[in-house]
Amino acid sequence: MSMNKEIMATTIEHPAENKVEPELLGLLAEFNDPESLMEASRKVRDAGYNRWDTHTPFPVHGIDEAMGIKYTILPWIVAACGLTGGTIAISMQYWMNAVDYPFLISGKPLFSIPACIPIMFELSVLLAAFGAFFGMLGLNQLPKLYNPIFKSDAFRRATNDRFFLSMDASDPKFSEIDTGEFVKSLNPNHVEEFWSDVESPKLPRNLKLGLSLFGVLMLMPIALVAYKRSTVTDNPRIHIIPDMDFQPYLKAQNTTTIFGDGREMRPHIPGTIPRGQYKDDNIPFYYGLKVLPEDQDVITIAAQDEAKADEKKPAEAKPAEGANADAQAAAEDKLASLPWVTEFPMPVTDKMMARGKERYRIYCSVCHGLGGEGDGLVTLRAMDLQQGTWVRPASYHTDNVRKQPVGRLFHTITNGVRKMPAYGPQIPPEDRWAIVLYLKALQKSHQVDADTLTNDEKRKLRDTK
């Protein structure tokens, strides 16, 4: 009774005491040189043991045979990995460059083998190398940082200058006494046993805690990315690095807090002239007017005229009345009294005429026609469609237009007239004058007295008919 109590008491007092007995795992024999180890290996092999090994600081050649090690399958793993690499490379290049995102370069085929070879080669080698390295580790069951054999102090020299033979206790032929005697008969330096641990090795508590915390933290970015990918948001994307797709420049018509007036588009500063915009030194050239810079009001009238005229007559209210356009224009002509220049404010040359012809054909002929009769392609088309809002452009060959001084014509091109928009912003002044010159030539071509022509010219005219 009391005995029982005692036993019970001990059991209760030490419940955590581990009752696991250390287990014999094997025997370890040390040799001095590779030759004696090789000799011993042959004997162990011939004795019929299966689970045993030798440990040497360097690969001892010939020991494979002495131990009866079978040739490794590693080369096959490497070959399989290499082929996989090549296959991945060629299918990746085909799919990416010919199917999913076709790259057409200089009309070359989307897919051709020669261009794929470098990357096929590289990926084959890469995967084969992975196969060799990780295949070797896998077949050797490494990494295995803990091994009971490492508890032997003598075994530390297995990576230095001693040669070991280890017999595994799990070998069916293994028995503690017989195998011990057998190993001693191999004539080693010394023999020792190695045992399993009484307690299974445990990670320190702090390390465990730290590792789990680290693991959880590692999952957080993945979880965040997954969450963001599966939800919708109105907020703009986060740009860690501000790239060129969103540049913080100011845009016209927006408001800002940077400037006092709240406008992002900046007005001209009073008393300054934008670069390249100074015109007052040559009024005839820039405005077509015979005035001095002091006569600012004349220039202002000329500049403002068109805007006012347009306000009075919105386009919708103005039906297509090609025939009456001239009369109307004449009736409303307020610009006639201004001092327009009648001579070109620069020397007139053949080159200028050629330039004028070219520019006329680009800018004017579409509406006014190649001959200036108001029958350009756009006009014909618009009249054809019968939209009702088209004002047929004036013919240059009416008296009204023909009598206008060159300055007035220049002004019309610059600022537009009626439905014709201003071409000043598009055509530089030199070219506008050249167009005026060509326009004058066109007018002259329609109003020539036959008597002033030479016989040659008359014959030419007859021939062109």
């Binding site: 040497t56 290499g82 370069i105 990357i119 490494l142």
Partner: protein, 470 residues
């Protein structure tokens, strides 16, 4: 105790038909281990700290300049029209080339069973890794917007866009990254048994943990060694064509273009020969001081140095042949642009660079025909410095002379590097040396297991029979 200790032998004299030992001095397995581990286990000499401080300072300058470049833009370099490939590409090609000797020594000499490689291969492989790190840096930052470097890789992005696989520049990405990865695996795998040696000898906890972790629990099992040797052989077999492919593909960056002076089929073999040439020169430049400082002259003998100088003569002559052949083809091919490009190289505005290149690369290695120079370490060192300078200039001449004189004379220009260019090149040497010094201190600098295995073999069945003592 039986050992294979032997009398000190002069290994520099090679008697044909006879094997000479690869390790001099009275050594056995244990003393080889002691010699190699000494540096990792003892306090480093003062010279190591001085050298590390200097290189780390240069490395800091490099990273500072990289930061400056990223913040400011690539305009801080001298790359301007028409020379948009200036120093960064010169440095890239130079550093990639340096790496080649490492792989060549490890892989090709291994396949040819050149056992003398065992003394130098570990350090040479380390040099490869660090040179590739320096090389990778330059194309990495020269793209301007570094944070978009991932566009080079075939990974899905928000633009649904894939890279163009027909561009040699993309082949480069694959070639250099594969080369770096495979070299790293090769280097690391070779080190696993030696790291286990260091683990078993380590006295302090940090060293035990560090070496223990990276040696992956290696226990020297013969069954492991069997697969390990097979894997090593396979990696060597894979690395051999790889090393040839890398510089070949780098040369495609040039050769596939149409620029006179670049558009030539000689480029791939010529670049590879040049790379091996410069790589061996760099190995020698590093090894000659290191073997005296670290006291491993017994393992890294004068014969090693002499063998490498012979490789330098061979590759240096190939490089000289390539220079001559370029000129010959420029004339024989009858292409006027090509002819001009080469005359301009030798006699144009960059003639100074061209003649530095020729004298360093063609003339200086020929000095190794003289046995006295070939066997005197300091003379080898001086010649190798010249070779390194010459090979840098070779890349400069190829890159800059062709670009600065392209088809349109209106766009010709003279390339001038900026101070940032110059300091970055110097800084990249700092990065390289810092990594190399850390390697010398903390990792096994000589492949102990390999030295032991070949140390044993010649005694076993060679002509040389050491005295067996008890």
């Amino acid at each position: 105790m039986a050992s294979v200790a032997s009398e000190p032998i002069d290994t520099t004299t090679e008697v044909p038909g006879k094997r000479t030992p690869l390790v001099t001095g009275a050594h056995d397995y244990g003393t080889i281990t002691d010699a190699v581990c000494r540096l990792a286990e003892c306090k480093a000499p003062l010279s190591w700290y001085v050298a590390l401080a200097a290189s780390a300072a240069l490395m800091g300058m490099l990273f500072g300049l990289v930061g400056y470049l990223i913040i400011t833009g690539v305009g801080v370099w001298g790359n301007r029209s028409p020379v948009f490939w200036g120093w960064p590409i010169v440095n890239f090609v130079f550093w990639v080339g340096i790496g080649h000797a490492g792989t060549l020594i490890s892989a090709i000499l291994f396949l040819f069973r050149q056992d003398w490689r065992t003394g130098i291969n570990r350090a040479a492989e380390a040099m490869t890794i660090f040179a590739v790190v320096c090389a990778g840096l330059f194309p990495g930052i020269h793209i301007g917007r570094v944070w978009l470097a991932y566009w080079l890789f075939p990974i899905p992005n928000q633009m649904s866009m894939w890279p163009n696989f027909r561009s040699p520049l993309l082949w480069d990405v694959f070639a250099v990254s594969t080369y770096a990865t495979v070299s790293l695996l090769f280097w690391y795998m070779g080190m696993i048994p030696d790291l286990a040696t260091l683990r078993d000898r380590a006295k302090n906890k940090i060293a035990q943990f560090g070496y223990g972790l990276f040696s992956l629990g290696w226990n020297g099992s013969s069954r492991h060694w069997h697969r390990y040797e097979r894997a090593y052989l396979l990696l060597a077999a894979l690395a051999t064509p790889l090393v040839l492919s890398v510089h070949t593909i780098v040369s495609f960056d040039f050769a596939v273009s149409q620029l006179p002076g670049w558009h030539t089929t000689i480029f791939p073999p010529y670049f590879v020969a040049g790379a091996v040439f410069s790589g061996f020169a760099m190995v020698l430049t590093l090894m000659i001081p290191v073997r005296s400082i670290c006291g491993i002259k017994d393992l890294l003998t004068d014969r090693h140095l002499e063998n490498m100088t012979k490789v330098i003569i061979a590759t240096g002559t190939m490089v000289g042949y390539a220079y001559a052949m370029e000129f010959f083809i420029a004339w024989y091919g009858g292409n006027r642009y090509e002819t001009f490009a080469f005359i301009n190289r030798a006699f144009g505005p960059y003639a100074w660079a061209y003649w530095i290149m020729v004298s360093c690369n063609v003339i200086s290695p020929q000095l190794f025909w003289i046995k006295k120079i070939r066997t005197t370490p300091w003379m080898i060192f001086v010649v190798c410095i010249f070779v390194n300078i010459g090979m840098w200039f070779e890349r400069f001449v190829i890159t800059v002379t062709s670009l600065s004189r392209d088809f349109l004379p209106s766009s010709w220009g003279y390339f001038k590097p900026t101070i940032v260019d110059v300091l970055m090149l110097i800084g990249s040497f700092g990065l390289f040396m810092t990594l190399f010094l850390l390697f010398c201190k903390f990792l096994p600098m000589v492949a102990m297991a390999e030295v032991k295995s070949v140390y044993h073999e010649p005694h076993g069945h060679g002509d040389y029979q050491p005295e067996i003592k008890d």
